[in-house]
């Protein structure tokens, strides 16, 4: 009897999942255009709490779903045009497929309409639709809300719900006076790391780390009236060594046009679904505004985005927490084991836990 029960229940609810493959070899590679231009120039950024960057257009070809990396598209002419026939050229000096506009003062102005034109080395000409910046109020300072939240954690190989302390970053959405607005917010995490075994003031005692993918998500809303507070991200504080000293989040607000909003919304929906539930909506195409001028039916990917940009930086440190959080000390000796502390205990540049950039020079915008 137990055997039958086991087969029965295991069969119904245990079910089984197997890999399947589809032959997609006949699908041609598509041109992918990653291009966002905003109203903040390189020179403007120098005085803002951000890393200064030029505007870049990244060209690549789509790859098969099993491939890790996309093939860069090099040797193309990338030109930005406006409705007064001004033009700007993006250059790919290192043949990486990243085309950079080396103009420190270029920024989008709300009155102009912009178009991106790409001519590949094969002579194919692609143009974007004409895009205009949507003006919006600048971002307000981020608000913090300390909460307890149930999150799913992998404990001994099984997903289990765990109650954790954390802080929610929330943004007041500006009130609309005119038409509805479309916003996208991205968040970039930075935090300070200290080499615990070094004396205060020693070189490489303090480092500053930036990790662009610490928050994997972004927020997107269509704001009809505005005037409310939108939760953005949740930063877990319980047992999170990254918040031990000081933690910062750069929140960038993009005011988008309807098309770009749909582009980002659909990517978000695509990333959030999956899992084989019978309630999953069927998949759909992510739109693009880039077209082959001689063959409008050719499929391309990506979007030429003209956005109003605004940034704010937010800091948090343990003294702000309304509750006690204890952190593990990775440098303390483990009783009964040979005392070999991790390298980061003696040199903060040896930080191993994942980052986009690390520096032992305190950024000017840090506290």
């Amino acid at each position: 009897m137990r055997l039958i029960i086991f087969i029965l229940v295991g069969g119904i609810l245990g079910s089984c999942i197997e890999l399947v493959s589809f032959d997609t070899s006949s699908e041609p590679s598509r041109l992918v255009v990653e291009a966002t231009i905003t109203n903040i120039s390189f020179n403007d950024r120098l005085s803002m709490p951000v890393m200064p960057e030029y505007f870049t257009v990244k060209l690549s070809g789509t790859s098969k779903v099993s491939n890790e990396r996309d093939e860069p598209v090099t040797g193309a002419d990338v030109t930005l045009l406006d409705d007064l026939n001004n033009s700007w050229t993006f250059e790919d000096h290192d043949n990486s497929g990243d085309y950079v506009l080396y103009d420190p003062d270029f920024k989008v102005v709300p009155e102009r309409v912009y178009k991106l034109k790409i001519t590949t080395k094969e002579g194919k000409i692609y143009e974007s639709t004409e895009e205009r910046m949507m003006v919006a109020d600048p971002i307000s300072p981020l608000q913090s809300k300390f909460i307890e939240k149930e999150v799913v954690k992998d404990i001994a190989g099984e997903d289990q719900p765990v109650l954790v302390h954390g802080v929610e970053g929330r943004i007041p959405v500006p009130e609309n006076t005119g038409e509805e607005k479309f916003y996208r917010w991205t968040y970039e995490a930075s935090w300070e790391v200290q080499a615990d075994l070094l004396a205060v003031g020693a070189p490489n005692k303090r480092c500053w780390i930036t990790n662009q993918s610490y928050f994997k998500d972004y927020a997107i809303i269509r704001s009809i009236s505005g005037g409310y507070v939108q939760p953005l991200f949740f930063l877990e504080l319980s047992a999170n060594s990254r918040v031990k000293h000081e933690f910062s989040v750069l929140v960038t607000q993009y005011s988008l046009g309807k098309g770009a909003f749909e582009f980002w919304r659909k990517i978000k929906v695509q990333r959030e679904q999956g899992g084989g539930s019978i309630f999953d909506p069927p998949p759909f195409e992510i739109p693009s505004n880039i077209f082959n001028t001689s063959n409008p039916d050719e499929k391309t990917s990506g979007y030429f985005i003209v956005a109003g940009e605004s940034v704010t930086r937010w800091f948090i440190k343990p003294i702000d927490f309304p509750f006690n959080i204890t952190f593990d000390d990775p440098c303390a000796p483990i009783p009964g084991a040979p005392n070999i502390p991790p390298a980061v205990c003696n040199n903060c540049l040896d930080y191993q836990s994942g980052y986009t950039s690390i520096t032992n020079l305190k950024p000017f915008w840090w506290y």
């Binding site: 087969i7 089984c16 399947v20 999956g274 069927p282 759909f284 195409e285 039916d297």
Partner: protein
């Protein structure tokens, strides 16, 4: 003096031949003296002695015939006057007087029934001395349960005279006196061919027995043996519950819906899912009914188990198409599950013990032969099983269902019968302390059958139903409750007028009120991220009048034709008007219109002609043609392939038009070897205008501007269906193969946004070109049977990621193919079952059977769904991907 029959027949033939060819006969006169009240047999004997002549006759022909000779009469004149009123005649050759039976010799061409045993002698000749046509009447009952049987055909062999038993099981019709072969036929029951000797009007009560009870072999067919060829309505399928039970089951759960998916032209939506597709139609295009009461769900546990309690089902009727004009509202098919009445003479208990559920049925008289009841219930114990397993996910999960059905039938008098029925089904499903899904279906109906006279009867039905679903998370910061419901009120008045056995008219009036409550979201107290939402409810009324005529123009040409006029109005709620100069979307809304509950928003109407024609080439071959038009005013929207409790119904309104389906079919039907084998080949072509699909990336649930994201287009499907069925013998079963396609077209000359797949035809979600099923039952002995079932179908279409790209640090944004350009792996499965019945003694206290079933015997991992990771890797999920043995015990007390 009686000769053996063979000799006499030979002699009669000879005499007839001679008398015909030799008109100059020996005509000398034989005078008979006065005699009073003498039996004809005695008269013959006396006359033989007195006049040295001989009479040839069959004793039973002249039984009870008496004659009186008033004056001295010539024998020839005397017999010529008397015999015809008894259907007899006389031929004289020399001194041989041969009595012939005129009525019997006229009835059949190739066989003479007179040599057979007469089953019933009705009346006496003396009560009908003039030989007028007489009335044969009586009741028909189930010989085993005593249940009255309605709809039994009682007719002469040539079907020139006959009748269908009425609601009380009563039949009556006129016939000439003499001998007649009467056929008594009823679906699911063993047909009878009875020889009646009708002398004057009289009553004969008939009993029929279920095929499996009385027969040596299992018989699959529920209808008359030659219904395949002779039935007039194309695309009509009837299964008795006995034939449904003969198929192997999943975990011992008998499922009428699964059975019909083994027919050509009908396919399952998916493994372990609810719903079925008929001739390339959506699952939401099937009219589902139980005893005529509208249903929105027919399954428990997301489709694993049917909601129909098999012990209460009498038969299942399916029309692959709109059916005759008395059905309407869905463009693809009609499925009506008929429940039986309770036994009105004795109490009975039936039941079954299965691995995941058990059921019990009680039935019996409340007032003997007048009022009966039947009540049944089922309860599952999956939860008990889940707790037995050492797995925390499964321990915290639950899956439970139960259902109750009650039906009371009351015969008020000869012309009025009333019955009341009610059902309730409940499901709860919860996986690992997460979201709970609840869905319930309740309904009740009252039926009043009234007989005006022998030709006209009416049925009035008033019913109501509510389908309710509720999804919630009980606690935590995600706490919420989402609910939606569908309520209906339905009144139907149907008349059947039987002008003659060859000419029947059905007409009636239907009115149906829908109330859709599309969705209400209530966040929990600690759930601050979610706003409460309550979508406007939708009220609508769908009414129809219809008339349908079943007519036999000639013995070979019969047709059912008719029409239905339907009208639909949407009342109340909020609707939007859109800018005509832009594609319909949330952005092109120019006005919001609010209507009061009784304010009409939009009305649609239409005429739905129906025609089905049968041409009998001969008694073994026929051709059938049909054309159906059906209008569907409410649309099932599902953004999933499977039917789920979260499916969403949408009324037609200002911006959503009703769907109109047109279907033509042609079929050739042939029966062979005394109806042992039947073969059919049918082709169909169907078009549906205004099928509903949604734009890419549409959110269906809780979308108050959903219609802005819906598109209406064109659907077409076509196919060829082949069926070979063996109905008799130890081995029975069928082989069905269908080739079919179902495609959709969403094209817009104005706006690219209103197109799907760039305005090209694309396969519908349920387009499965090749479908094959093989069902075999082998009766090893009267108690022991084995059944097998194999199904195969092409994999369903699917949209898959064809490439990916990195974008702003997102490692993989997926590019999907155009809609439905790929297919999931093919589906196939083999099931077996063994049934062991208790002995066949007619009088026994418990009639039991053990059924051992193995579902998916070779453990094929058929895909339930295919899904993709964020990186685009494809996985298939097999819900029933292993072998499922089960053991069930069924009993009757």
């Amino acid at each position: 003096m009686v000769f053996n029959f063979f000799f006499r027949t030979l002699l009669i033939a000879l005499v007839l031949f001679v008398s015909y060819n030799l008109p100059a006969q020996d005509q000398h006169t034989i005078l008979i003296e006065e005699q009073a009240e003498i039996l004809l047999s005695d008269f013959f004997r006396n006359t033989e002695k007195e006049h040295a002549l001989r009479f040839f006759y069959k004793e039973e022909w002249i039984e009870n015939i008496r004659l009186t000779v008033a004056n001295e009469t010539n024998l020839s004149d005397l017999l010529s006057n008397i015999l015809p009123q008894y259907g007899l005649g006389v031929v004289n050759y020399k001194n041989n007087w041969i009595i012939i039976n005129r009525s019997a010799t006229g009835t059949t061409d190739d066989e003479n029934p007179l040599d057979e045993h007469v089953d019933y002698v009705v009346g006496e000749y003396k009560r009908n001395p003039t030989g007028e046509p007489v009335e044969l009447s009586g009741h028909v009952r189930d010989g085993e349960t005593g249940e009255i049987l309605m709809g039994v055909q009682v007719a002469t062999n040539d079907r020139k005279n006959g009748v269908i038993s009425d609601l009380r099981g009563y039949y009556a019709f006129m016939l000439p006196t003499g001998k007649h072969i009467i056929n008594v036929e009823y679906l699911g029951y063993e047909s009878k061919e009875l020889l009646f000797d009708l002398r004057s009007s009289g009553t004969v009560n008939l009993e029929l027995f279920k095929k499996t009870v009385q027969l040596k072999e299992v018989t699959i067919s529920a209808t008359a043996d030659d219904n395949n060829v002779k039935g007039i309505e194309a695309g009509k399928e009837v299964f008795s519950v006995e034939s449904i039970k003969a198929l192997p089951t999943f975990l011992g759960e008998v499922d009428p819906v699964k059975t019909i998916t083994s027919l050509p032209g009908v396919s399952a939506v998916g493994e372990g899912t609810a719903g079925f597709n008929v001739r390339g139609g959506e699952a939401g295009q099937n009219l589902l009914m139980q005893d005529g009461v509208l249903l929105f769900s027919t399954s428990h546990l997301f489709g694993l188990v049917s909601t129909f309690n098999p012990d209460m089902v009498r038969d299942v009727l399916l029309y692959k198409g709109g059916g005759p004009a008395n059905y309407g509202g869905r463009v693809s098919s009609v499925l009506n599950v008929n429940l039986r009445n309770g036994n009105d003479s004795k109490y009975k208990v039936h039941g079954g013990l299965g691995l995941i559920s058990s059921r019990i049925i009680l039935e019996g008289p409340i007032i003997k032969n007048r009022t009966s009841f039947i009540a049944g219930g089922r309860v599952s114990y999956v939860n008990w099983l889940l707790r037995k397993v050492n797995n925390s996910d499964l321990n915290q999960s639950s899956a439970a269902f139960h259902d109750v059905n009650v039906k009371v039938n009351h015969v008020i008098n000869k012309s009025n019968i009333i019955n009341v029925s009610a059902y309730s089904t409940t499901d709860q499903f919860k996986f690992a302390s997460d979201t709970v899904y609840n869905w319930k279906s309740n309904g009740a109906a009252i039926n009043w059958n009234h007989i005006y006279n022998k030709k006209l009867l009416s049925t009035f039905q008033f019913s109501g139903s509510k389908y309710f679903n509720d999804v919630f998370i009980e606690e935590g910061i995600n706490q919420f409750e989402y609910s939606s419901s569908i309520s209906t009120l339905n009144a139907k008045l149907d008349f059947n007028y039987e002008y003659s056995v060859n000419n029947r008219i059905d007409f009636g009036l239907h009115s149906l009120v829908y109330l859709f409550e599309p969705g209400k979201l209530t966040p929990g107290q600690s759930n601050l991220n979610t706003e409460p939402e309550n979508l406007d409810s939708e009220r609508s009324v769908e009414s129809a009048v219809y008339v349908s005529n079943e007519l036999s123009l000639t013995p070979s040409l019969s047709l059912v034709y008719g029409g239905r006029y339907s009208m639909y109005t949407l009342y109340g709620g909020t609707t939007y008007t859109y800018n005509d100069d832009a594609p319909k979307s949330v952005d092109s809304i120019v006005d919001t219109l609010k209507y009061g509950n009784s304010e009409s928003v939009q009305t649609y109407d239409g005429i739905e002609p129906r025609l089905s024609l049968r041409f009998l080439i001969n008694s073994k071959n026929s051709l059938k043609l049909s054309y159906y038009r059906t209008i569907q005013y409410v649309h099932l929207l599902s953004n999933t392939t499977a039917i789920s409790p979260l499916d969403f119904w949408k009324s037609s309104g200002l911006n959503i038009r009703p769907a109109t389906g047109d279907q033509v079919t042609i079929g050739y039907f042939r029966n062979m070897l005394d109806n042992t084998f039947e073969v059919s080949l049918e082709g169909y072509y169907k078009e549906v205008e205004n099928v509903v699909d949604y734009k890419d990336g549409t959110t269906i649930l809780l979308n108050d501007k959903l219609e802005a994201d819906l598109l209406q287009g064109f659907g077409r499907s076509y196919g060829i269906e082949f069926l070979l069925r063996k109905n008799k013998g130890l081995l029975t079963g069928w082989f069905a193969y269908t080739y079919s396609r179902s495609e959709r077209l969403f094209k817009s000359s104005e706006y690219k946004e209103n197109e799907i797949n760039r305005g090209n035809y694309f396969p519908a979600n349920y387009d499965t070109p090749h479908n094959l099923s093989l069902v075999l039952n082998y009766k090893i002995s009267r108690r022991f049977g084995i059944s097998g079932n194999f199904t195969y179908s092409t994999g369903r279409p699917i949209t898959v990621p064809v490439s990916k790209f990195n974008y702003e640090g997102i490692p993989a944004v997926l590019n999907f193919s155009e809609r439905n350009q790929f297919r999931i792996p093919d589906y196939h499965r083999l099931d077996l079952s063994i049934t062991l019945k208790s002995g066949f003694k007619k009088q026994k206290s418990i009639d039991g059977e053990w059924v051992f079933s193995v579902y998916n015997i070779y453990g094929r991992k058929n895909p339930y769904s295919v899904f993709f990771t964020q990186r685009g890797t494809a996985y298939k999920l097999s819900v029933l991907g292993s072998v499922f043995p089960s053991l069930t015990y069924n009993f009757k007390i």
